[in-house]
Symmetry: C2
Subunit: 390 residues, 2 copies
């Protein structure tokens, strides 16, 4: 297949020669050989498929009738509310996961790292559902699974065994959740997670909502264990609000430790969170990924699956205004490392995941987040004329 | 004209009978008399036209080639940058104002209160340009003008006379700008503005960026003068960041004073600003309006004219999650008082300004901000099948 006359990252027009599911060649526009199977890119701006580095596709009620938000505030309040209500709304389900994954595709997301609830109630059923949904879309979105103990680990005997089983059955990572405030035993939870990760050769991706010094202490515990287990590059902190809240000197120290240990970091750039020291993180090699978090679920009514809007939120939260900084925010939305891609982008050898938008340049695309005219996923046209084809 | 089968605010389906530019009757769906000039609302959710209560349509470069952001930070830095660069980009111009007003229309905004720069460089030319742009669109967006001394008042001798002239020539309000930090004379600037407002019988709308107690002091000065001049209902504070930053007791005191004096308040819900005591403001009768602020201008690259997204930003900033609170955020985006409308809404006698979106209910519309399927402005269809008709 040929995708002609597109402008990667707003640069000079090129043609993409796509062979099967990957990009075979990138050549100057007009120089690719004629073929019957050709799509006219009309000089549109081309970006790589977006990578949603933190989602929860198992628990959305997208596409179902509106559910009013309720329950108590706080992490534990939300967990309890979700456990009490989810059955009533048929969560988790294949249909629910499929519906939200289709919204991902419509907005140009072609890969996601999704946390999937694993607990004593649903066991590993959520993971099976999400896998079935991904297959139903013929993997238009590549789905990488984090087995996520949303209801706690040590405080729920039996969950560790479920995480171990999930890892044995192909989850790419196991998750954790506020080792201090949820399990009340930060060392215990982390030691148990790292033991499984080493034994099963999987990654770890920990939700850390705890703020200030309590959060910072758990960062340190994670760094120490990542070094000891030589798991650099395989450990990620999600949310990690504490980092933005710390005084500058303490923050700088922690950023350096995270970088040296190879711990990465994902955020959904919440409006009310403390801005990150993103320049220092970049300089220290702390990879940042962007995600949507839950979308329209029992935790929050917000979200629509558009990672370009999340990137814009990141940019606004951090007051980015210069062209190169606005472009950086979009680069964060295409970080292939969070779905373990060695190559990701509009380059030869990468999976053919391409998003076309009618924008002058990358900053223009970021601030307007215009509709996705065309999306190609794994060499297949999944959005055409802004209409979903899957 | 007949607009059939729409659901105002997500309620029961109705037909709107539109006579000329206003809504003549609201009747249950299917009960309006047949007419040739009928539009099928397809059961879509209907909202009143959005009211952009704080815009700067004179200085956008929307529709022109991308301009990279530059200059020094801070209010004074931005003012200097804009003054140095605006001629190069042909700011202000009729074409520029027309382009951004069309984006307003495309997103369902049918009325705006716009601040228009008045200074020793452009004089009143910006106001003339904006009026011409509004007329070019046949007033699809009703434009109310604030003569805005962006470059300062007292520090620029001659500006007061320009404001006076603008008021004499039909500006609805005159503006002010950080009386303390820009003019270095809060009492002097405010006294001068109130003198003109009383004499010319116009309103006052003051940009107040100053934070903390310095901002609070100027709030007090504004309240005192509003009471003394009996200008309740005609004075507005824009941005007013200080209010969110004050300790709760001081905040409560100030909110009560604003309410009693009849001072209203507009915000663009910036991501990094302190949340407002919106419940207390509501209880005290401090009207809140939402605006886009500048869009893609020499101050900021952000913005696209979508007031529903601004409402969503307000909702996220304040952590709104319950249905009634999400609905309240959309109500703020339709506050007709900020353009001096006695009646605004999907009710008999109001100007026929209607926005149709494919949403289940108002919270659903807020969190997704879906495309505007149809927009009617002053009885005229200005967006049809999501395509701009003006």
């Amino acid at each position: 297949m040929l995708l002609t006359n597109i402008r990667p990252w707003g640069g000079e027009p090129v043609d993409l020669v796509i062979a099967g599911d990957h990009i075979d060649k990138v050549v100057p526009a007009g120089s690719a050989p004629d073929t019957e199977d050709s799509i006219d890119g009309r000089g549109l701006l081309a970006l790589p498929g977006f990578v949603n580095a933190h989602s929860h596709v198992d628990k959305s009620w997208w596409g179902q009738p509106w559910v009013s938000y309720g329950g108590e505030p706080g992490t534990q309040g939300r967990i309890a509310h979700e456990r009490a209500e989810r059955d009533r709304y048929g969560i988790p389900s294949v249909a629910g996961a499929t519906a939200v994954l289709r919204e991902f595709v419509r907005h140009g997301t072609t890969a996601t790292r999704t946390h999937v609830d694993v607990d004593l109630g649903v066991g590993l059923r959520g993971i099976a559902n999400v896998r079935e949904a991904a297959a139903a879309l013929d993997h238009a979105v590549e789905v990488e699974i984090v087995a996520f103990p949303q209801d706690g680990v040590l405080r729920r005997p039996g969950v560790l065994e479920l995480l171990d089983q999930a890892a044995a059955e192909g989850a790419t990572s196991i998750g954790g959740l506020d080792p201090a405030t949820i399990d009340r035993d930060p060392v215990g939870q982390l030691d148990a997670l790292f033991e499984i990760a080493v034994r099963r050769n999987v990654g770890i991706d920990i939700h850390l909502h705890d703020g200030g010094e309590l959060g910072a202490f758990q960062y340190e515990l994670i760094v120490e264990r990542t070094r000891a287990a030589a798991l650099g590059g395989k450990v990620n902190v999600s949310h990690g609000f504490a980092l933005g809240e710390l005084p500058p000197a303490r923050q700088a120290e922690l950023v350096a430790e995270l970088g040296a240990a190879g711990v990465s970091w994902t955020t959904v750039a919440p409006v009310r969170s403390a801005p990150l020291p993103w320049q220092e993180m970049r300089a220290s090699g702390v990879a940042i990924g962007l995600g949507t978090d839950g979308i329209r679920d029992l935790w929050s009514p917000y979200g629509d699956g558009d990672l370009l809007q999340v990137a814009r939120g990141f940019a606004r939260l951090h007051g980015l205004r210069a062209d190169e900084d606005l472009t950086y925010a979009v680069e964060l939305a295409t970080a292939g490392r969070f779905v373990h891609r060695a190559t990701h982008g509009l380059v030869e050898g990468a999976r053919a995941d391409v998003v076309l938008v009618d924008a002058e340049n990358v900053p223009d695309a970021l601030v307007r987040a215009p509709r996705r005219e065309t999306v190609v996923a794994g060499g297949r046209v999944v959005v055409h004329n802004a209409e979903l084809q899957v």
